[in-house]
Each structure stands twice: as structure tokens, then as C-alpha cells.
């Protein structure tokens, strides 16, 4: 092997580049591009031969390095010579490396602080004195909590499966019509039955919106006997009325 390569867990291409620069004691502002490109590509090869998953970002950086290298090798045209101000092809990369190095260092400084629950401990439980006063209360609230609360309402839907990358983009309107036909002739339907065995996130969200829309239009009633229990759909309109209805995008205001 031409290079002595130790495969660490690199956080990304910038992390790997910084590692190589440090190992070779290179000047970060004057990187020998040919040398670093060789080592970078060799490391990626080694990672691949170890069957490590190479993220796309690593390959993109490889392409960038090769591109910079080729630009440096090209003879400079007269125009370039006149325009001596032209930026070094490495400049952008150097800036990113310096910036990344700064935050990497800041991260390790943060990690060296006495962390709560790791190095220092506080009373993180209701004191007996106050136990009776605070029950069923939420820690703090932010926008994220709000969305999570909404997500919580659909969380009992089976976890989505992502193996199928090419899922069908279905519209809310399509879904409403599908749900109505699924409901036709039934007394009720569990929410979970609206889905294929391994639904995509998109399908879940669209179905949820469709369900809300049906509730808003008072065509369906949703009932649940316990929090996080099964949600049941009940047709709220007599069937003869439902059959004649057809929704289009304009009515609902969805794209």
C-alpha cells in the first residue's frame, strides 16, 4: 500500500482532509493538492475495500479535489496572467477547512465542560415537597413540541418503511376519494387499515390530511377509545349522499 492508512470514523470529507493535512504536517493555506488528492482517493479506496459505506459527500469531495488539481496543472492563459488577481483554485476549500476546524475545536471544548448528568448531577426529579403539586406537566414548550404533539396523534400508525425509494406521490384529493370508497358499505374502519403494509411517510401524511379534511367536511367521524389507542373512522353521512360527491382540487384548496 502506497500510504499508511488508518481508517478512523471520519465525520465527513472535511474531517478526513483535515486529518490528512495534520498527519502530513501540511500548511493548510498552501495545500499540496496533488499529494493530498492521492492520499484522499487512497483512503476512500481503502474504506470501500473494507465495505464501509461511502457517503456521497466523500465522492463529491474527491471530484472537487481532482478538479482543483487539474486547474492547477493547466497552463495559465495570457488572460489569466494579466488578471493576476484571479483566486487560487484552492481558496474555497481552504476557507471551508479553516472554518470547519474552528467548529471541530469548539465541539471538543464543549465536550470537555462538566456536563450535566455526565460529570455533574442535579436533582432531576420532583422533590417530595412538590410532588403533589406538579403532575402531568410538560417540561418546556417550543415550536418543535407543538409539531411533535401533532405527530404524536399519528404515531400509532405503523412505522414507515423506506426500502422502496420510488413511492407514488399521491394527492390529498386522491386520498379522500380512496378513503371514501374504502369506507363504502362498512360500519367503520380502523385508521391503520387505510395503509398498505409498509406505508411511506408521504402516504401517512397525505392520509392524515385527507382524514382531517373529511372530518372538517363532516363526512367522517373519528373516534378513539384511549389516548394512543386505535383511531376508528365512522361514516357520518348516509351512503347515497356520499356516492354522488366528487372532490376536486379547487374545492379543497390543495395542490
Amino acid at each position: 500500500m502506497p500510504y499508511d492508512i488508518k481508517i478512523d470514523n471520519f465525520e465527513g470529507p472535511l474531517d478526513l482532509l483535515l486529518h490528512l493535512i495534520r498527519k502530513n504536517e501540511m500548511d493548510i493555506c498552501d495545500i499540496p493538492i496533488a499529494e493530498i488528492t492521492g492520499q484522499y482517493l487512497a483512503t476512500i479506496d481503502a474504506m470501500q475495500s473494507l465495505n464501509l459505506d461511502i457517503a456521497g459527500e466523500f465522492l463529491l469531495m474527491a471530484a472537487t479535489l481532482v478538479h482543483i488539481k487539474s486547474r492547477l496543472l493547466l497552463p495559465q492563459s495570457e488572460d489569466d496572467l494579466i488578471e493576476a488577481e484571479e483566486e487560487d483554485p484552492r481558496a474555497e476549500l481552504v476557507r471551508r477547512l479553516l472554518e470547519y476546524q474552528k467548529y471541530k475545536e469548539a465541539a471538543s471544548k464543549l465536550d470537555s465542560r462538566p456536563l450535566l448528568c455526565r460529570d455533574v448531577f442535579a436533582r432531576k426529579f420532583p422533590s417530595p415537597e412538590l410532588a403533589a403539586l406538579e403532575e402531568d406537566e410538560f417540561q418546556s414548550v417550543g415550536l418543535y413540541d407543538l409539531v411533535e404533539a401533532l405527530r404524536g396523534l399519528i404515531r400509532n400508525v405503523p412505522e414507515a418503511c423506506y426500502h422502496d425509494v420510488t413511492f407514488e406521490q399521491m394527492s390529498v384529493t386522491d386520498r379522500i376519494n380512496q378513503i371514501l370508497s374504502q369506507l363504502a358499505g362498512k360500519e367503520n374502519l380502523p385508521f391503520g387499515d387505510l395503509f398498505t403494509p409498509s406505508p411511506s411517510r408521504h402516504e401517512i401524511v397525505v392520509s392524515f390530511l385527507a382524514m382531517l379534511e373529511l372530518v372538517k367536511l363532516r363526512m367522517v367521524r373519528l373516534l378513539q377509545n384511549a389516548r394512543l389507542g386505535t383511531i376508528w373512522l365512522f361514516p357520518a353521512v348516509a351512503e347515497e349522499h356520499m356516492a354522488g360527491l366528487d372532490f376536486d382540487e379547487d374545492v379543497l384548496g390543495y395542490d
Binding site: E129, L153, L222
Partner: protein, 184 residues
């Protein structure tokens, strides 16, 4: 190890324990015999017994536990009463539904949550996070709810379009969580 150093460690151990700690447990954690620990516990008790302290070390239920001095119970209650409003799950859920589905009537909120939401709605109205937009033109003329200006202020939003969508979250969630993260 010098026994003089053990007292602050014992203090720390009792402080973080959720329930009263037995002398035996402390001895085991410190890898010493119980007779080493007991006199130190007595000393700690008397250190805290002074009137100038707000906390006492009490022997209760066979173990040791810090408690606030009983005389201060009223102050403790006053502090917890003055605490900023904290959301219950029910309140947060209801607020989320109203925020995302407004204008909305109570019956719709209750369909979605599957439980009676009158009480929570009242709390949210009292806290001025939710307001009445009007009455719906259907039999019974139910009230229509929406979020208020205070709601926007609380969440630091300029307007309702600043609310994150479920779609944006699902995009974040699509990524697998990073390996090896074990933070609390």
C-alpha cells in the same frame, strides 16, 4: 483514602438520590465498611441542623434524604405557584390542533384527540393563547376557535405561516439518527 475526604462525597451521593439512601448503599458505593460511613452521616446531619440552613438532612424510611426545612413550606409553595405556565400534554396537543387546523370547532378538536377537551380549551382561553373567532353557521352554532397574538408571541412567530409543517419534519426524520449518540 483519608476518611476526611469522604464527607463531601456522601453529601453529593445523598443529594442526587431520588429516594432515601441507606448507610449500607453509601458504604458499598465508596467501598468502605458501614462503621466508617455512619459517624460521617451523623456529622452531616448536625452540619445541616443549624438554623441558618434552608435544608436539613433527615433520616427517613431507613435512609438519609435532604428535605427543605418544614418552616419554609409556605415559601416553597409560593415559588411553585409563581412558576411560568407549563403545558400539560393535553394542552399542547389541543393547541397544536388549533394552530394547524384553525378555524376549528370544539367537536372537531375532540374527534381528533378522542377525548373531551372542554377543560383544556378553557385553560387555553384563560391564558389568552386561543381566542374565539366567531360562531359556525350550523345547527347549535358552535364556537369557532383560533390561535391568538399571544400564541404567536409565545412561539416567537411573526405569523401563522412560520409554523413548521409536518412535511418538513418528516424530511428531517427520514435520516437515520447518528450512531453512538447516547446523550440524556
Amino acid at each position: 483514602m483519608d476518611t476526611i475526604d469522604l464527607k463531601p462525597i456522601i453529601e453529593a451521593l445523598i443529594f442526587v438520590s431520588e429516594s432515601p439512601v441507606k448507610a449500607e448503599q453509601i458504604a458499598e458505593a465508596l467501598d468502605v465498611e458501614k462503621p466508617v460511613v455512619v459517624p460521617l452521616l451523623r456529622q452531616l446531619c448536625s452540619d445541616y441542623a443549624s438554623d441558618s440552613r434552608g435544608i436539613v438532612l433527615e433520616e427517613t424510611a431507613g435512609g438519609f434524604q435532604f428535605r427543605t426545612r418544614p418552616e419554609y413550606a409556605e415559601w416553597v409553595r409560593r415559588l411553585s405557584r409563581n412558576k411560568p405556565f407549563r403545558f400539560s400534554r393535553a394542552a399542547l396537543e389541543t393547541l397544536a390542533i388549533i394552530a394547524y387546523r384553525q378555524p376549528i370547532i370544539r367537536a372537531e378538536i375532540e374527534y381528533l384527540r378522542g377525548v373531551d377537551s372542554g377543560g383544556v380549551l378553557k385553560t387555553l382561553l384563560d391564558k389568552h393563547l386561543v381566542r374565539i373567532l366567531g360562531k359556525k353557521d350550523v345547527p347549535g352554532r358552535p364556537m369557532i376557535y383560533g390561535t391568538s397574538r399571544d400564541f404567536l408571541e409565545l412561539f416567537g412567530l411573526k405569523d401563522l405561516s412560520g409554523l413548521p409543517t409536518l412535511k418538513e419534519f418528516n424530511e428531517l426524520a427520514l435520516e437515520a439518527p447518528p450512531a453512538g449518540d447516547e446523550s440524556p
